[in-house]
């Protein structure tokens, strides 16, 4: 039996009322031994204007490459007080930021492992459907062989790769909704 999927609609401008109760800027709970990293950036629209009313959600594996989800049945340790989920609205300048840990590698289609990445969902007024993308890390040699990065046109791959920030453990990942450096978004 097949039921047709429910249609998506925008979160609209007042999303904060319903969604900020679950804000999670710091994914790293007490006792997590892995070194924290900071991942953040700015979201801009087709006029390069900041998007001040977006919501960013992230989902990631722990440092062992294990997702805290029943579907990941591999014999790898879970991390107590690290669920892998974060949610934050952008500020008036379109900025968002998370404190988390660097994810480990997870299996790739057809064998091998994907490069470390964070999965991103983007919701905002003006988006009738959410957008999804990935944050890769500029200091990872594994990026060269990552099957998802390789499926992206070469000229656009760097839109998926966070660069090192000024402080240790800081990564910058700006999201450009339209234009010359438009971020790659995925049909998930």
């Amino acid at each position: 039996m097949n039921l047709p999927t429910t249609s998506s609609q925008t979160v609209g401008p007042f999303l904060h009322i319903g969604l900020t109760w679950l804000n999670t800027a710091n994914l790293v709970g007490p006792g997590v031994a892995d070194p924290p990293i900071m991942v953040g950036g700015r979201i801009v629209d087709g006029d390069a204007a900041p998007v001040a009313d977006a919501l960013v959600e992230i989902w990631q594996a722990n440092a062992h490459g294990r997702y805290a989800h029943p579907e990941d049945r591999r014999d790898l340790p879970l991390t107590t007080h690290f669920s892998g989920f974060g949610r934050m609205p952008t500020d008036p300048e379109g900025r968002y930021a998370f404190t988390t840990i660097k994810p480990g590698r997870v299996p790739a289609p057809g064998g091998g492992l994907q490069a470390p990445h964070i999965n991103v969902t983007l919701l905002m007024r003006g988006m009738l459907r959410h957008l999804q993308t990935r944050i890769y890390f500029g200091d990872e040699h594994a990026n060269a062989d990552d099957p998802v990065l390789r499926s992206v046109p070469a000229a656009r791959r760097d839109t998926l790769i966070a660069t090192r920030g000024d402080t240790p453990g800081a990564y910058i990942f700006d999201i450009v909704l339209q234009g010359a450096h438009e971020t790659v978004f995925f049909d998930v």
Partner: protein
């Protein structure tokens, strides 16, 4: 789509079958760019989306338990000292997947305007009163059969600035995660007989007319509470799993 193993560590490899999620049904989802809804014009991506294969990253997703849900979170009429102004309603239904299986224990978040069509939000400039006894947010988890239930008040229609004399039909925003990163859904529930629906660019952004009408809740005698609240029924269908798994080889650490 089983792929051959070509992995030097295959002697230590475990096999993981990843079953992806089927594509959305044609016509059910709006395009990213829909110029009648003006805010899409500068925010919709212009390049085609890149197809992602199903991997563990997409078939897993955040799980939420009862520890974050408070007792009155499902009842928006009992979150403050007094009763909110407006018509009390019960909104309930089931969360299913496209294979008609219930989605149990999944988070459902809602938010809405008050009876006067006003949100308690700094960016809402509509000249209508706020209600100190109604802040318009609720959340619950579905039960083992995918059922959810909220008690709230019927939201008011309100004007917006998309085009001259633009009005939003009465609606409740819904946010769901489902079991995976690939099943995220944010939508809006409408009310039967609303004359504003056909003029609403959010509603008309959905290409398939039947899919649009599925966002309109149904009046429901069965959930009506006598002398208390009218019932409305709204089922939500998330994507369903593919029948055939893809096999991923992975080396053990």
């Amino acid at each position: 789509m089983t792929q051959p193993t070509d992995n030097t560590t295959s002697s230590a490899a475990a096999r993981v079958a990843v079953r992806g999620y089927r594509p959305y049904d044609p016509g059910t989802q709006p395009a990213h760019l829909y110029p009648p809804y003006m805010s899409t014009v500068k925010r919709a991506p212009t390049a085609p989306l890149v197809r992602l294969p199903a991997t563990l990253s997409e078939v897993t997703g955040p799980m939420f338990g009862f520890e974050r849900i408070r007792a009155n979170d499902f009842d928006l009429t009992r979150q403050h000292a007094g009763q909110p102004i407006g018509e009390r309603i019960v909104v309930s239904g089931r969360v299913l997947d496209a294979n008609a299986r219930p989605v149990p224990h999944t988070l459902v978040e809602i938010w809405q305007a008050n009876a006067a069509g006003r949100y308690p939000h700094p960016r809402d400039q509509h000249d209508a009163p706020t209600d100190p006894n109604f802040t318009g947010a609720g959340r619950t988890l579905t039960d083992g059969e995918g059922r959810y239930r909220f008690v709230t008040i019927r939201p008011g229609e309100y004007p917006w600035r998309n085009h001259p004399n633009a009005w939003r039909p009465a609606h409740i925003h819904f946010s769901l995660f489902g079991p995976a990163f690939a099943t995220r859904l944010v939508t809006q529930m409408y009310f039967p007989g609303d004359p504003l629906l056909e003029f609403d660019p959010m509603y008309t952004s959905i290409p398939d007319a039947k899919a649009r009408t599925r966002l309109v809740s149904a009046f429901d005698w069965d959930t009506t509470i006598p002398e208390q609240a009218l019932g409305y029924h709204f089922d939500i269908v998330l994507r369903g799993r593919d029948e055939t798994p893809m096999e991923n080889d992975l080396p053990r650490p």
